[in-house]
């Protein structure tokens, strides 16, 4: 596809999702209390969009990923949080 065709097919959808991200950040910033590792990872991932690197989606996924290589001692639950908490089990 040409860039024009990609824009015709996906621009409005991407614009919608970007505005949702902005609204999420406004919402969490006006809420009381403290944030956690998820918001820090989210901001780090956002930074990957503008650092001039290729493969932006890969860079964002890596920003949320556990970078360690050894298995954890024991699974304490079954679910994933969406961002690495920065601790090894």
């Amino acid at each position: 596809m040409t860039q024009q065709q990609v824009l015709d097919l996906y621009f409005l959808d991407a614009r919608h999702k970007l505005i949702e991200v902005a609204a999420f950040l406004d919402r969490v910033e006006r809420a009381d209390g403290k944030d956690d590792f998820r918001l820090k990872a989210f901001r780090a991932a956002l930074g990957r969009l503008n650092d001039g690197q290729n493969e932006k989606v890969k860079q964002v996924l890596l920003a949320f990923s556990d970078p360690t290589t050894r298995p954890i001692a024991k699974a304490k639950g079954k679910s994933a949080a969406g961002a690495w908490a920065g601790k090894t089990g």
């Binding site: 989606v57 890969k58 996924l61 298995p71 954890i72 001692a73 024991k74 699974a75 961002a83």
Partner: protein, 271 residues
């Protein structure tokens, strides 16, 4: 349009889903063993589940003209209990000769723990001993990259395992290259909120090519869409992909991989 749904948990779906899939062009549905959303309390619960996957569910699918195949294992979400896993794995051989069983799956890792790894190795050994195909689940979200690497280490360290007989599922942009470069098949799961969207899955196809890769909905009891594969085919059409390329990705590729199991036969036309 015709397609194969190579990964769907139909025991969690209503019969309307079978009907909609058949109307959309689905000819075959394959169902890996999965976590029920709660922990089963004993190996006997798995025995009943394996009976459901090999007897009841194929009959339910047949009412809508769909062939149903299944994969057996204890899912990584229940693999922290090694003793239970040993008991369940001991049940599997008696089901391997069932006419709709394709292999061992979906095995893998969930939180990347030592016990999960131990159970993964037990499943891989079982598959090797009985010459079975393998379907691998990779972990969710932040655990996927590390889990994919650990899984690849286990598979590559067992010399009996041939990569072309293993599909590693739920790949995303940060793991697909690791899987394909090692010679394994890669599965892309189309989910509304996590894993791949149709647009991203097609981006991956355009970037990495259409060899040794398939699409699936992995529809289950959670937020998922049993029509995700034909919806992605429609998205490919919108991008201008020819019908032959779409057919390769959603029909020929899964047929090629699954056809390595002699029990996987699609009777009519083509085929």
């Amino acid at each position: 349009m015709r397609y194969i749904e190579p990964h769907a948990h139909m025991v969690s779906r209503v019969t309307d889903d079978y009907e909609r899939m058949a109307i959309a062009g689905c000819e075959v549905v394959c169902e890996p063993a999965f976590w029920a959303g709660f922990d089963r309390s004993s190996a006997a619960g798995f025995y009943d589940y394996f009976c459901q996957l090999t007897g009841h569910e194929p009959a339910r699918a047949a009412k809508f003209g769909l062939k149903h195949f299944s994969w057996l294992c204890i899912n990584p979400k229940e693999a922290e209990d090694v003793k239970l896993a040993e008991e369940v794995i001991a049940l599997i051989p008696e089901f391997l000769n069932c006419p709709n069983v394709l292999g061992i799956g979906e095995i893998g890792l969930n939180k990347n723990s030592r016990n999960e790894l131990k159970v993964l190795e037990m499943h891989v050994a079982l598959a090797a001993r009985y010459h079975q195909l393998i379907l691998v689940h990779t972990p969710h979200l932040e655990d996927k990259l590390k889990g994919t690497r650990l899984i690849l280490d286990v598979l590559k360290s067992d010399r009996r395992i041939r990569p072309e007989r293993v599909i590693i599922d739920h790949v995303e942009e940060h793991t697909v290259g690791l899987v394909l470069d090692a010679g394994f098949w890669a599965g892309m799961t189309l989910y509304p909120e996590t894993k791949c969207s149709p647009a991203r899955a097609i981006d991956i196809l355009e970037t990495y090519g259409q060899e040794q890769i398939w699409l699936n909905s992995a529809c289950d009891w959670g937020i998922s869409d049993p029509l995700a594969v034909p919806k992605t085919a429609l998205e490919m059409k919108k991008r201008g992909h020819p019908a032959a390329v779409i057919d390769k990705v959603i029909y020929q590729n899964p047929k090629l991989f699954l056809g390595q199991c002699p029990k996987f036969k699609i009777s009519s036309k083509d085929r």
